[in-house]
Amino acid sequence: MDARLPPMIKDSALTALVAAALGVFIVGFKTIDVGTGGPVFDYQLVDLAIAVVTIFFGRLGLQLASVGLKWPAFVLGIALGAVGAAPLKLPSTFLHWFIVLAGIVIILRTIWPWANEAMAKARHSPRGANYGRNFVKFFGAGLLVAAVLMPFMPFADQKTMDLAVLILTYVMLGWGLNIVVGLAGLLDLGYVAFYAVGAYAYALLSTQHGLGFWTVLPLAGMMAAAFGLVLGFPVLRLRGDYLAIVTLGFGEIIRLVLLNWVDLSNGPAGIGGIPGPTLFGAVFAETAPAGKTTFAEMAGIPFSANQRLIYLYYIILLLALVTNLFTQRVRRLPVGRAWEALREDETACKALGINPTNTKLTAFTVGAMFAGFAGSFFAAKQRFISPESFTFIESAIILAIVVLGGMGSQIGVVLAAVLLIGLPEWFRDLGAYRMVVFGLAMVLIMAFRPRGLIAHREPSVRLHPVRAGP
């Protein structure tokens, strides 16, 4: 027997013990409500025991892999995978998944050193670096073409289009927040507040003053930007973590005001009957209200419910692309470089004569503006908004997209949005675990890949042109 084995077993047993201690009450005793006599238990101690045993073997596998005992680790991983996939009568499907996942993690850990080395080699060869750069470029272009053509694809039914619009909304929000968090390095935990300002601006101006979507859109952006400016001004001199908490506070204050200032916002009941966006004055509905024409009449084609959705899709695609284009351009301007410099070292910026507060304020305000645009789109799409939609969790989701994608990486945000918003929608069963996965992903990304899935940073300017690939 290998002398390294006993300490590993001991460590794994300790891990399992800790897991058992963590789970014994929260998982082991599930409180259920029966009648009025208060809750009683639904015992899940067997589930817990199986999970703890899995954790023991999982940890053991990781340890084996980390000391280089590849084959035992690999076999253990396969074995766990097989046990999880086997048609055993476990108390819940979750446990099957859990065991399979443990196996997969061990296998990944086992092949990681090899994969990592290969990737590092590829990254450091000039050819590999070029390849990476081109990959990002072509992947982006391909994605753009796919996005433009998407509504005409045979699989683009209503459900798919709905999801596509949702994902694009988050892509836009992610890109907007990326200016603040990714470029300027300001952790804004209240981003959703500006989204709310944009949404309520459109909802109120359209329902009470009859203004159209395209009129309100710039106004909503400006209002959100004004909020950003006013809220940002006093707080942007604060240190990073204090700033995060203060923005969180602002986000909650705005939500609570919307909830309680019933005269303005109709409180928790929300605002309904918000008109959708029009195209050259034509509405997207089966029958037009008096004095308007429908899009179907105008275009001389039969009405279908999908038309509205496709139109919304292109609007949000356009808005998102504008956000992206803006970011790409501004990165090459002095203000964009100053944002990145501030993220890297604020003290050095001050020494170079850069006004940190003003520079941060521009990032904060511009980010808020894009959230405002996205907000009014959201209101026009949903046709009903209430403070429910603008909770802290929403801010956290957008932040998770930015962090997971790689702060400052535009394509990373797209990938992360697809991963975090798209996948859970496709696999409905995962829905309940979605937020758990979000949280876990944020922790793991910070620990193992703090620069996100796409860590590549393209310089904003080059002195020497990139050599063409061989």
Partner: protein
């Protein structure tokens, strides 16, 4: 006067709970300079473990209330402490030396993770724990209004005061406390002098979590109900308390907790209960803007 007195009693109770949570924030901040964003969730888990503990006591037929309280208190402290330990070990320790926002982002991740884990495991509905300590004592009556202090409130005060006294002693007079203060001053130096920094930081999280568990139990007994979301607001308010008192300062956290309790209860009692949470957030924002070192904290000097 009577209404005022009653509000004061209620405020002190609520303030005690906030103070217990605030200590966790302030200690962690003091030692590693990060906001443990997940601390509110630790409090929530403490509340749940207490709820389940009380139910187990009931199922086992332990009917003596003081016995049940002490048992559950120890149970909740011990098992919530494991959460505190694990969070530090898994989510924060690997990030020491990473870029400055990394631990905060990780902490937000932990917070989301714990909230939803409890929601998955225990359901989204609020869980009622029932009345555990009943009865009270009418202090005086005026204007046709009885000013009452319940046994429960007295229990909360006694437990809070006892814990804080014990805790202050721990920090002031034990080797552990000394090591902790050494790490606060200069982690590198402390480690050169033979202080086990990792262990000290772990213990800080463990102690913070144990106190949060007590707060969770008090919350459960006081409001009779817990749900997976209580950690968010209580966490923010306790953090506000820590900042108001001066983050990094233990007496500051206690003072801040009491003040936040007072402000919240009186705001709700005299102005509007709708905006009581706005008041807490507004204080947070105002303190950070105008006096980031709080009431009892020391101002920081930027090192260049």
């Amino acid at each position: 006067m009577a209404y005022f007195s009653q509000q004061l009693i209620n405020a002190l109770t609520l303030g005690s709970i906030y103070a217990l949570i605030a200590i966790g924030y302030t200690m962690v901040y003091g030692i590693i300079g990060m906001i443990n964003f997940a601390h509110g969730e630790v409090f929530m888990i403490g509340g749940f473990i207490s709820l389940i503990g009380f139910m187990i006591c009931a199922a086992l037929g332990i009917s003596a209330v003081p016995v049940a309280i002490v048992l559950v208190l120890l149970l909740a402290m011990a098992f919530t402490a494991v959460y505190g330990w694990t969070i530090e070990r898994v989510a924060y320790r690997p990030l020491r030396g990473s870029f400055r926002l990394a631990p905060l982002i990780s902490a937000i991740g932990v917070s989301i993770l714990l909230q939803n884990y409890v929601q998955l495991a225990q359901g989204a509905r609020p869980k009622a724990g029932g009345q555990i300590v009943e009865g009270g004592y009418t202090l005086f009556s005026a204007d046709g209004f009885d000013v009452r202090v319940t046994w429960l409130q007295i229990t909360i005060w006694v437990v809070t005061v006892a814990l804080m006294a014990g805790f202050s002693w721990l920090i002031a007079a034990t080797p552990l406390g000394r090591q902790q203060r050494a790490c606060e001053q200069d982690m590198k130096m402390a480690s050169l002098l033979g202080v086990n920094v990792d262990r000290t930081i772990s213990l800080t999280f463990v102690m913070g979590a144990a106190l949060a568990a007590v707060a969770g139990m008090m919350f459960l007994m006081y409001y009779g109900v817990v749900d997976f979301f209580i950690g968010f607001l209580a966490g923010i308010k306790a953090f506000t308390a820590a900042v108001l008192g001066g983050i990094g300062s233990l007496p500051g956290a206690m003072l801040g907790g009491l003040l936040i309790g007072l402000i919240e209860v009186f705001w709700a009692g005299y102005f509007s209960s709708e905006y009581k949470d706005v008041a807490a957030f507004a204080i947070l924002v105002l303190v950070l803007i105008f006096r980031p070192s709080g009431l009892l904290g020391k101002p920081e000097i930027e090192k260049v």
